[in-house]
């Protein structure tokens, strides 16, 4: 078994999943945070069904953005502190692929709870059932992009507060927000939403290599 990219991939996967499994707060907190944020809207505004139904796409997406952003905050900090992150850059394999593997793992751990939370929220916000599947699709694409962006933000502000990381990342996540809510709103109105999903997919296609490369640069800054 030589050191090649597949071994690295599975190593990162195994290690991170094992650690996340043993620290259940990693995957429970995004879920609960999402639900708390969603609950604030009827509490602060009005519990009226029609009103909440009109708000539902936006509220779910806002909660998804905030949850995935805060969840990805600590993606590198532990590995950087205990020295495990150094191995990514000492090896022969392209570091940005390893960073991608790490973000993918992290998204599997935190993104799936967010999807679950969005499913629950769609019930408590009276989202029409027809838009459920498109919403989930848009959230899969969107939360993954958020994890990529958030990872870059976390790498840039490694060791600093979460709120700083938020102002760095949130402006860049506005297109995702607009496209994602467009998918859900179009689905509610029985309009074609595939175009928006394609745009989100395209953003991912460019974002995966681009953001991972920039994240590698950002992490390497911390070694100087």
């Amino acid at each position: 078994m030589k050191s090649d990219i597949y071994n690295w991939f599975f190593l990162i996967l195994k290690r991170d999943l094992l650690i996340a499994f043993r620290r259940s707060s990693t995957y429970i907190t995004p879920l609960i945070f999402f639900l708390i944020v969603v609950s604030f809207f009827p509490l602060a505004l009005s519990p009226d069904q029609d009103f909440l139904r009109s708000l539902a796409p936006g509220v779910i997406w806002i909660a998804a953005l905030l949850s995935s952003l805060l969840a990805v905050e600590t993606i590198f900090s532990e590995d950087f502190k205990d020295g495990t992150l150094d191995e990514f850059f000492v090896t022969n394999e392209p570091s940005f692929v390893l960073v991608f593997a790490k973000v993918l793992c992290h998204w599997l751990i935190t993104g799936l709870p967010i999807l679950l939370a969005s499913a629950i929220s769609s019930i408590i916000l009276y989202l029409p059932a027809s838009s459920f599947l498109p919403m989930i699709c848009s959230l899969i694409l969107g939360t993954f992009f958020m994890s990529l962006l958030g990872a870059m933000g976390a790498a840039l502000s490694l060791g600093r507060s979460a709120i700083l990381s938020s102002i760095i990342v949130l402006p860049f996540s506005i297109p995702t927000l607009l496209m994602g809510t467009a998918v859900v709103s179009s689905a509610i109105n029985n309009q074609d939403y595939s175009g928006f999903l394609l745009i989100m997919g395209a953003m991912l296609a460019i974002g995966i290599p681009g953001l991972c490369l920039l994240t590698v640069e950002a992490i390497l800054l911390n070694y100087e």
Partner: protein, 243 residues
């Protein structure tokens, strides 16, 4: 020129000229536009604010592009001065964007009755402002300023890549929710004698930017190199170890 002290010496000589030229062109543009251009038949005299609003908006976007180019140079070739340029330009760019927002708002009040409206262009400008604050916030939070320069290089590269996507998506979002009333942000169809002062204003704003950028960069250089002898000689007129 890539060396900060050298740039400082060169700019000390160039600065007075730059100041004079920029102030002259800026003043010509402003006075011409605000006082001597014809009155618009639809909006009256209030439209004159475009002589501040439009150049500010143009500068706000161009400065981000400038920062992205400097960012690319910093990341790829590790030139020190291009990193400092990003930092120096960021606050200027943020200020121009803020001016564009405020003047846009002032323009809206007499025409619409409200101080703010979420139309496509104002909203995009607001998001641009947030990108500037992200860059400035990141730089101020990192204590090692060389590292901070490289960090904002990365961020400005992401910024310039996402700007077209933001504009397109905000445009689309606005058309979806567009109220039936006419959108104010499109400039009135311009007669040549309205257009010419606008061009001069834009040029004046660019020159002012160059002037402010040079001033900012000089201040940044002195701040970073404050422990070096050339700085003490320059400003304190004494050797480093004198008391």
């Amino acid at each position: 020129m890539g060396s900060p002290p050298l740039f400082f010496q060169w700019s000390s000589k160039a600065l007075p000229w730059l100041a004079i030229i920029s102030i002259i062109v800026f003043s010509i543009g402003m006075v011409w536009g605000i006082f001597y251009s014809p009155t618009d038949y639809k909006q009256g005299d209030v439209y004159r604010i475009i002589y501040i609003h439009v150049p500010s908006a143009i500068l706000g976007q161009s400065i981000l592009m400038f920062m992205a180019i400097c960012g690319f140079i910093t990341v790829v070739w590790r030139v020190k001065i291009s990193g400092m340029l990003i930092k120096s330009a960021a606050s200027i760019g943020a200020s121009f964007t803020l001016i564009a927002l405020i003047t846009g708002s002032i323009w809206g009040k007499p025409t619409w009755g409200t101080w703010w409206v979420w139309d496509a262009r104002l909203t995009s400008t607001l998001i641009l402002f947030f990108i500037y604050t992200a860059i400035i916030g990141l730089h101020s939070s990192l204590d090692d300023k060389t590292k901070a320069d490289r960090a904002i290089s990365i961020l400005s590269l992401v910024g310039i890549a996402i700007i077209p996507i933001i504009k397109k998506s905000v445009d689309w979002w606005y058309t979806l929710h567009q109220p039936s009333t006419f959108t104010l942000s499109s400039a009135p169809s311009m007669a040549p004698d309205m257009y010419q002062p606008l061009l001069v204003c834009v040029l004046g704003f660019y020159l002012i930017f160059a002037f402010l950028l040079t001033m900012n960069l000089r201040a940044e250089i002195v701040f970073r190199e404050k422990n070096k002898t050339w700085v003490s000689k320059q400003y304190l007129n004494r050797q480093k170890n004198d008391k």
